[in-house]
Amino acid sequence: MKPFQLHQPATQAEALALLAECQQRGDDVHLMAGGTSLVLLMNLGLLQATHIIALRNISELHGIQSTPGGGLAIRPLATHRELELSPAVQAYCPALAETFGHVATVRIRNQATLGGNLAHADPAQDPPPMLIALDAQIVLTSQTGERSLPLEQFFVDYLTTTLQPGELLTEIRLPPLPAGTRATYQKFLPRTQDDYATVSVAATLRVDADGRCADVRVALGGAAGTPVHLREVEDALRGEKLTDQRIADAAARVPELVDPPDDARGSATYKRRMARVWTARALHDLRDQPNGALPTP
């Protein structure tokens, strides 16, 4: 790493003031949460910062809380390991806790934070598709106020977000899940267990009394420059009986809705096909498991 000036603010207000001050001066300033991605990029010389604002001492940015009505509020410095083991996350949605457990290795999960994960915007990451399937909102705060937006709108392209100068990701909000919602996250790993997914699929499903799809949300990881929310697939299923044919027809739309890169984890053509296959599998599993509890893949 090249030398940089380090700032370690103790409060969110102090961090926002520092960020604004550095950016007004034109400094190359970066925010550091768990540091896993940023230290890696800086050490490889892919990113050079003249100022680093380390957020770790800001207690307001730590924590995971259940919210009134059954939602969840996650502060950005919660680590993947804290989220994986959190009773509040388990109570909210076991598949979400399991998703955090799929990220890299326990060593990385101990250090890497959810806020850092989202701000880094690697489209092959595990939590974003699951959070999108759960309709997560994120809160971005600056000195002039805060705005919240659906998580899927935060991602613009590979490693690119809508975060504006002076803004800090301060909260991830999950709405209460309607009773009977089933959820799953499935990660296609043809190589090693600690790898990024070749493609991954997150889905939630609610079935009404006569077996029709009351609501469904599906999102993919590794399938484009951002996580992909498959609205067209959802529209093809909502209100319908989830027959094998109906699921197959809906999943058949997936290849044209994704734009995966060719890389060591597979060609773009292969990933398009696998995205369809794994979408259909996730929907089958949710339909066939009334309690929504799925074994670890």
């Binding site: 540091g35 230290v39 890696l40 050490n43 060593r107 101990n110 090693t192």
Partner: protein, 155 residues
């Protein structure tokens, strides 16, 4: 002591403190050779700025054995069960396994494999590593008297 902000923990340990038991393998958090415990939590020293450890307790492979005459049950089990071949990954393996046994004192084989998947062995000696960890879990937490290697009866 004072450390420059851009120094990584792995460099502080090896270059400034001379604690070379912690290895740098991949340098990108994948191989586990630089595994250390920060306040008991398993971390990659290659991805951590040294300033992160301010006010914490860091345990490296050098600090596991209670004294020069004893080994931890894990260290002893790795010797008895052939848990290493060339040895470069061994400090990381043992530090990671120490964290595993802290969290799960009697892990199943599956738990061992899952936890240890982040520690690569280029000699591919994985079966013996898993065997060593399971044996250490059975033998408890009491330190073992260190003996010259090579003259003991087989377990």
């Amino acid at each position: 002591m004072t450390v420059a902000a851009h120094v990584r923990l792995i460099d502080l340990l090896r270059d400034d403190l001379g604690l070379t038991g912690t290895k740098e393998g991949c340098g990108v958090g994948v191989c586990g050779a630089c595994s250390v415990l920060v306040d008991g939590q398993l971390m990659s020293a290659c991805l951590m700025p040294a300033f992160f450890i301010d006010g914490t307790t860091v345990l490296t492979i050098e600090g596991l054995a209670p004294d020069a005459d004893h080994l931890t049950p894990l260290q002893d089990a790795f010797i008895r069960h052939g848990g290493f071949q060339c040895g470069i990954c061994t400090p990381g393996q043992i530090v990671a396994a120490t964290a595993l046994l802290d969290a799960h004192p009697r892990p199943t084989t599956e738990q061992v494999r899952r936890w240890m998947m982040g520690n690569l062995c280029r000699c591919t000696g994985y079966y013996k590593i898993v065997e060593s960890i399971l044996a250490a879990a059975e033998s408890g937490t009491t330190a073992v008297v260190r003996q010259p290697v090579g003259i003991r009866a087989a377990p």
